[in-house]
Symmetry: C2
């Protein structure tokens, strides 16, 4: 197996200096070399099957052409579309994403972050933000390029692309109000997450704006955005507020957990209790019952985050911290119905 051809192999074959070969091969600097020469170089490269070495280039230019993407867990159905959105946009500009799953473990996140810094990624797209996040503070101090996606922070000096969670929960809650519910509970997400806190706030606000009180026992905070956390939360919620006719869950997985508990307690959904989710995860329409939920344009969230980061990377100098919010939409399905009687 002959080792891969290098730039000077190409130069040699074309009878030029490697500097000339380099300029000929790079479209941006090709105009610096004679047309005929350039073509000779291109031909030589083709004949040798030359593949440029991104590592060598990266060392010289100190740009790796890679981006670190930090998510909690790829197996959470929420994230694949976001990741695809990011990758599609980045790939178009020749960038590659390096994926890191933190599993919500701070240790792990630190280690992965370090490994991405070692690899000299040109920037980060972060979907694991907590409302305040030491690692992000550190990244900001070091002047790294960071774009937040899906989850925001309390700091407002990061570029971010999020869904309008406030509007989303308002849509779900008003839908329930409109079909006649008055005793509505909320299964909130973790309150150290922006999404968890903003959704809970929006839920309460919406009720109040309809002159309804929000008794504390109608809100239960779940430990995580997971089905099992949803199960635990729902048990607690139903124990302390058995007369609810509807539940607004902070996301689809929690809603799924709620449905499990309803089934376990012999409560029919939506006949006796309605449930709404959030995210419109893939196949939410296939569930039993099909889940009424709030659709979030995950792919676009990712794509826009990618674009924002590319912007930072290609435009030199300091940049505005853009904060983009994308609109959600209520998807009405079978898990909501007017209250009994």
């Amino acid at each position: 197996m002959p080792r891969a051809a290098t730039l000077s192999d190409v130069a040699q074959r074309a009878g030029v200096h490697q500097a000339t070969a380099s300029r000929a091969l790079n479209p941006a600097s090709r105009h610096l070399v004679n047309r005929a020469t350039a073509e000779r170089v291109l031909a030589a490269a083709r004949e040798l099957g030359y593949v440029p070495n991104a590592i060598a280039r990266g060392l010289r230019t100190s740009r790796s052409g890679t981006v670190g993407v930090i998510i909690p867990d790829l197996m959470n159905p929420l994230f694949p579309p976001i990741v695809r959105g990011i990758e599609d946009v980045l790939a178009r500009e020749g960038y590659t994403a390096l994926l890191a799953n933190t599993d919500n473990d701070e240790q792990r996140e630190r280690a992965l972050f370090e490994s991405l810094v070692t690899r000299r990624v040109d920037g980060f797209i972060v979907a694991t933000a907590r409302r305040n996040h030491p690692l992000l503070d550190e990244a900001a101090r070091h002047g790294l390029n960071v774009v937040l996606v899906y989850r925001g922070t309390d700091r407002t000096d990061f570029c971010a692309v999020t869904a309008d969670d406030r509007l989303g929960i308002a849509l779900a809650t008003e839908h329930l109000l409109q079909i006649g519910h008055r005793r509505i509970g909320h299964l909130a997400g973790p309150q150290d997450l922006y999404t968890g806190s903003i959704r809970a706030n929006s839920f309460a606000e919406t009720l109040r704006s309809h002159q309804l009180s929000v008794p504390p026992e109608h809100i239960v905070v779940c430990d995580a955005y997971s089905e099992t956390a949803g199960v635990a939360g729902t048990r607690r919620l139903l124990d302390q507020a058995p007369d609810l006719t509807a539940i607004v869950a902070a996301n689809d997985l929690i809603a799924l957990g709620a449905c499990d508990v309803l089934r376990e307690r012999g409560l029919r959904c939506p006949d006796q209790i309605s449930v709404t989710g959030f995210n419109d995860m893939p196949f939410a329409d296939k569930f039993d019952p099909p889940l009424t939920t709030v659709r979030v344009p995950h792919y676009d969230l990712g794509a826009e985050a990618g674009r924002l980061l590319l912007d930072q990377l290609t435009r030199p100098g300091p940049h505005l911290t853009k904060r983009l919010s994308l609109p959600p939409a209520l998807i009405t399905r079978g898990s909501t119905a007017p209250p009994p009687q």
Copy 2:
């Protein structure tokens, strides 16, 4: 913003030559340097917040510490677990995965492959294999490290980790036979894929081994492993064989498409027609009806593929081409029942 500390910054601060610093920092060569000196170097590195530059190291060692992972589409729920399995194993050894989504497009695949070669990945894990696959032939010719996952090829000289698809379909088919079905159809996957062809073969074999004939109109080949392809295939199947009492689908998405068509035609599943899937995709238990399917250990498939590749990368010289097959399991749920009457 001071630029990041380099190895010679560390060396300078510790009062040693950068070669010494390099050896002190690398656990594998630390024994070559005096204990006290090594500690001075470590301390200096810590104080400066030194982060090694993987790009420079990669250039020198011609190993990037990255692996290309080629999949059709991350949004297909089948692949996230595989990818996580791969990543978890690789990360433990300091490797990073570069993900590429081909969308089953040969052009795209070629471009992505090239970009991974440019980045000098140390090896490939490929989940997009077709039964014969020019790109893979080429990779083999160039002596690249390749491990196949989930889908095999006709060539048997690649390392591969697959599920025992033959057994899986046999389990599903025998389950239907056992509960009394005799007129069973098969919605096959694309026949240029190993999975598609082996599953179809296994279906027919299983019936024949029970002395049942397999009329050609009982088998329809779908264009893709997707819900829409499943819809189209099912329409065709039911048109040409209206008396079926059960359908073995080549995967869950096709099965989902089948359920759609049954609903559309007013056929109740499982009362009138039973359906089985393949993969046990996430939330298949939540569907309406809950899907009887064949569980494949996707995460382990990925993890084992990662291990196999690491083996190739760390063990020098030529290696055996191991082919690993993992056992599937039948998961009986609500989409199968004895035939009517």
